[in-house]
């Protein structure tokens, strides 16, 4: 790193507000739902009061430093008047502390109560955490309206969405800070989380509970859309996979379904029904691969298939021996699955 770049980085670091302005799609400081706004409001109230308390403590320390008397070694005792004055001040401060704490507790309690008030007709989405990706299933009482995807969650703005959170292996935690606080996914327990996005946008989320080797690369994307856009997306997702449009794509499909890919991955309509890895039926429509590791581009996908362990050490996807030609065909096929 050269000196100029270093200086630039330091300058950036010194201006957190500026920074928060440019990178804010996974940030507590940029709330984009009613719930996140409530949380942020409480956060800023606490922060303001706490900062004030700290400033007062430091001011007291500075004052006592300025008022200190010339040191000598003879021990002394406070006289009675000093004692009682100090006692009164300390007692007053303790009482003030208690009042602040009671108000804080009440503020927390009522904020929590507001957040868990049930909304009308939430959209139900089941999210299952696994090492190291997210399975997403849109639930519906009509079985023909149910579909699966992975690592990318589309939601309509203005409508409450309830996430049912489960885990099959170890504990994970579902956290998209712009939209809501986090909630753990715990094997053997069912948790849920409800939020309502304010406006369209793409928000990033990430696993927040340490879950093993690739805890760092277990991200997801929440795409909040207008109800019409969401409806269109949903209709597209309900369809089976598009048939191959070229010879190369047809070869790709053949290799995928007849080879080892289909043991783990599902592509509905193409005959691939593996359940241990992400559903790839509409893979081409997603913006990232490997749970937020990289942008979904043909070259990234080719590199990923060539050596997953290089890019995400420890990932459960094995390295499958393929010629460049065959790999290219699979990439072409998958990228066409819009």
């Amino acid at each position: 790193m050269n000196a100029r770049r270093f200086a630039q980085q330091i300058a950036l670091a010194a201006a957190p507000a500026l920074l928060a302005g440019c990178v804010d799609s996974q940030s507590v400081l940029n709330p984009q739902s009613g719930e996140a706004h409530d949380l942020a409001r409480l956060f800023w109230i606490f922060t303001t009061v706490c900062s004030l308390v700290w400033v007062l403590v430091v001011a007291a320390l500075l004052t006592l430093l300025l008022r200190r008397r010339r040191p000598d070694s003879t021990p002394e005792t406070d006289n009675l008047e000093q004692q009682s004055r100090k006692t009164a001040v300390v007692a007053g401060l303790v009482a003030l502390t208690a009042v602040i704490l009671v108000l804080f507790t009440l503020g927390s309690f009522y904020t929590t109560r507001g957040l868990i008030a049930p909304g009308p007709h939430p959209l139900l989405i089941k999210v299952t955490g696994a090492q190291w990706w997210w399975q997403v299933e849109y639930e519906d009482s009509d079985p023909t309206q149910v579909f699966s995807t992975a690592n990318e969650i589309h939601i309509p703005v203005g409508r409450p969405v309830t996430f049912d959170l489960e885990a099959t292996d170890v504990i994970h935690s579902f956290w998209a800070p712009n939209l809501m606080g986090k909630q753990d996914l715990i094997p053997g327990h069912r948790n849920s989380l409800t939020l309502t996005a304010d406006k369209p946008g793409e928000y990033r989320g990430q696993c927040a509970e340490f879950c093993g080797l690739q805890h760092s690369h277990m991200a997801f994307l929440v795409v909040a859309q207008t109800p019409a856009e969401f409806w269109a997306w949903r209709q597209a997702q309900l369809k089976p996979a598009a048939p191959p449009a070229s010879g190369q794509q047809a070869l790709g499909q053949h290799l995928f379904v007849e080879g080892s890919c289909a043991t783990c991955h599902t592509i509905s309509g193409a005959g691939a029904g593996g359940k241990t890895g992400p559903d790839l039926t509409h893979f081409g429509s997603r913006s990232t691969i490997a749970a937020g590791l990289m942008a979904n581009t043909p070259s990234n996908l080719a590199a990923w298939i060539k050596d997953p362990q290089e890019l995400k050490p420890g990932v459960n996807m094995p390295q499958v021996p393929l010629s460049d030609h065959d790999r290219g065909a699979i990439v072409a096929y998958l990228e066409a699955l819009k």
Partner: protein, 634 residues
């Protein structure tokens, strides 16, 4: 009928002869055998502290490697496997091998001196506890260097640490390390309680006990109530892994959250095992630099006790996002907020103590200031994370990393550094260099804040804990680089401390008995203290006995000088009660620690180790307790 000859007692000798006689009886021979067999609380306490600080450096180096890895996005200094081992080793080492032991065993060194006695109660147990602790720590770090370091975090959540996902023997090593350190921790706790209750100098009534001793006492009680929870749960984890007991296996009727409840029922009080003694250190140092008694002694004692009780009602705030009922969580919000009140009382009393005082701005006092400035930040962010809604956002992010380091470093390491500067002359007979000390303070202050303050912002910017790397587009790079630079500065402050220690030890000017002109009993004896601590047991008439009687302390006499003898006093009024022998050096504690350690280590590989190990353990403990008929055991 035999003629009973009156044994020699301290009243019949002058000072020089008495020193010689007592040194013969209480001294430790400067040989390897003497070193292995000693039961002197000062030697064992010193050894404990030095070992803990050695582990501090190991844990610190682990942290530094992590900081280098996180200094920029997509770094490749270490891979995910090494990184996970590093943060697990860092947390486990700092909590179990450094912070808790160092705080407890400053008590092993200081408590007998502060209360005017000659050794701790159960000195052989004390020696045993040290060896067990040492072997446990060495086992953990040896495993790490053999690439078998635990990798599931210092909290070892199941199922990640369980039989299905925790590979090799890594989590077993972690769980057994808990057994070693808890065994030694419990032993020391028992010693401290009995020592404080029964061995105080005459006149040291409950309201004259030095505040550090109060803190050590409260901590010892907390350890006795909290540590069994983690010993039980770590044993259950080993059983799940070794013989398939399914305590935590949700598929077989066990429960994943059970682990978290048991762990945090211990884990939250554990924070206070570290913080309460640290506040005791602060309260005991301040009077020497303000030249008057601490303000609000009764309030400070009650705050310590209140913190001790409250700390057992907070554990659920580590579990706010696990899906527990919201109303129940609100109770734990309230209790977590409430613990801020005793902490607040302490802060206000310390400030009141220094208000309008004749302050001597020496290094230990600077660290007191640093402690207040930093700890208050950690305490206030603690109040923030006590709130369930706020915690759902910042839990398991770098905001928490910042918070906990402000509490533990601000709240315990700064007091510890101050205490090192303050009591070093008592321990080693040399004053540390004051100018280097002040430089050390400023380096630590700047380095610490540069490292950890940006982490609050990183957490709010969405950076989760325990990630080994991150992508450049997350925008976390600059702030992380700042934290890494801070960590290097902070580390340098510890190297400076080390340099100061080494160069001061080589200095030729010995420290006086009482270089700070302080008022408590440890300053009434030599620097370093003679093996018997006090030639004659002092009598106490106030909280700062050396200030009450600046020229000479009154003493009690009548203790025998031909055997190790202590004065036992009553619990509340500290009236002399009886004379009691104190055990002599022996190899049995070392031998017992050896066989115990080997058995514990083997038992993570085969359950049969418990069966076969019982035999040598039985032999060694039989030897330890075999009546020998020596004078001390009359």
């Amino acid at each position: 009928m035999t003629i009973q000859t009156e044994p020699p007692r301290d009243s019949s000798f002058d000072d020089a002869v008495l020193d010689q006689r007592l040194t013969e009886v209480w001294g430790t021979k400067p040989t390897l055998w003497g070193w292995l067999t000693t039961v002197d609380h000062k030697l064992i306490g010193r050894r404990y502290i030095v070992t803990a600080i050695f582990f501090l450096f190991l844990g610190g180096i682990a942290a530094l490697v992590m900081r280098l890895q996180l200094g920029g996005p997509n770094a490749h200094i270490v891979g995910p496997d090494t990184y996970n081992q590093l943060f697990t080793m860092h947390g486990s080492t700092m909590m179990f091998l450094f912070a808790v032991p160092v705080m407890e065993t400053i008590g092993v060194f200081l408590v007998p001196l502060m209360i005017g006695t000659r050794n701790v109660a159960f000195p052989r147990l004390n020696a045993f506890s040290y060896w067990v602790y040492l072997f446990g720590g060495l086992m953990l770090w040896t495993a790490f260097f053999l690439n078998s370091g635990p990798d599931a975090g210092w909290f070892s959540y199941v199922p990640l640490a369980g039989p299905q996902y925790g590979i090799g023997k890594r989590s077993d090593i972690w769980a057994q390390m808990i057994t070693y350190t808890e065994l030694s921790g419990l032993a020391v706790a028992v010693e401290i309680i009995v020592t404080v209750f029964k061995m105080r100098a005459p006149g040291m009534t409950l309201d004259r006990i030095p505040l550090f001793v109060w803190a050590a006492l409260v901590t010892a009680f907390m350890i006795i109530f909290a540590m069994p929870a983690v010993m039980v749960s770590s044993t259950m984890l080993i059983l799940d892994r070794l013989v398939g007991t399914h305590f935590f296996n949700w598929a077989e009727g066990g429960d994943v959250l059970l682990w978290q409840h048991l762990f945090w029922f211990f884990g939250h009080p554990e924070v206070y095992f570290i913080f309460i003694p640290a506040t005791g250190l602060i309260s005991s140092m301040i009077p020497a630099f303000t030249r008057r008694e601490i303000f609000g002694y009764p309030a400070l004692v009650l705050s310590l006790i209140a913190t001790g009780f409250l700390s057992f009602g907070l554990w659920v705030h580590h579990m706010f996002v696990t899906g527990l009922p919201r109303l129940g969580e609100s109770f734990f919000t309230a209790s977590s907020m409430a613990v801020a009140i005793p902490s607040g009382i302490q802060i206000f009393c310390w400030i009141a103590s220094m208000w309008d005082a004749k302050l001597r701005l020496r290094t230990p006092l600077l660290f007191v200031f640093g402690f207040i400035i930093n700890f208050v930040i950690g305490g206030l962010t603690g109040v923030m994370v006590a709130s369930v809604p706020i915690d759902t956002q910042v839990h398991d992010t770098y905001f928490i990393v910042a918070h906990l380091h402000y509490v533990l470093i601000g709240g315990a390491v700064f007091p510890l550094l101050g205490a090192i500067y303050y009591w070093f002359p008592k321990v080693y007979g040399r004053l540390l260099n004051e100018r280097l000390g002040q430089l050390n303070f400023w380096l630590a202050m700047v380095g610490f804040n540069l490292t950890f303050f940006p982490m609050h912002l990183l957490g709010l910017m969405g950076m989760p804990r325990r990630i080994y790397t991150y992508q450049p587009e997350m925008g976390w790079g600059p702030m992380n680089l700042l934290a890494t630079v801070g960590a290097l500065i902070f580390f340098a402050s510890f190297l400076l401390l080390l340099f100061n220690i080494v160069s001061s030890l080589r200095s030729r000017t010995p420290a006086t008995d009482n270089p700070w002109e302080a008022g408590t009993l440890e300053w009434a004896t030599g620097s370093p203290p003679p093996p018997y601590n006090f030639a004659r047991i002092p009598v106490v008439s106030g909280r700062e006995p050396l200030w009450d009687r600046p020229n000479s302390l009154p003493v009690v006499t009548g203790l025998r000088v031909d055997r190790r003898e202590l004065l036992v006093s009553t619990l509340v009024d500290a009236k002399p009660d009886m004379l009691l022998g104190s055990p002599r050096p022996t190899i049995w504690p070392f031998a017992a620690a050896m066989v115990t350690s080997v058995t514990l280590l083997a038992s993570i590989f085969t359950p049969w180790a418990v069966v076969w190990g019982a035999l040598p353990i039985a032999i060694v403990f039989t030897g330890w307790f075999w009546p020998t008929g020596v004078k001390e055991e009359e």
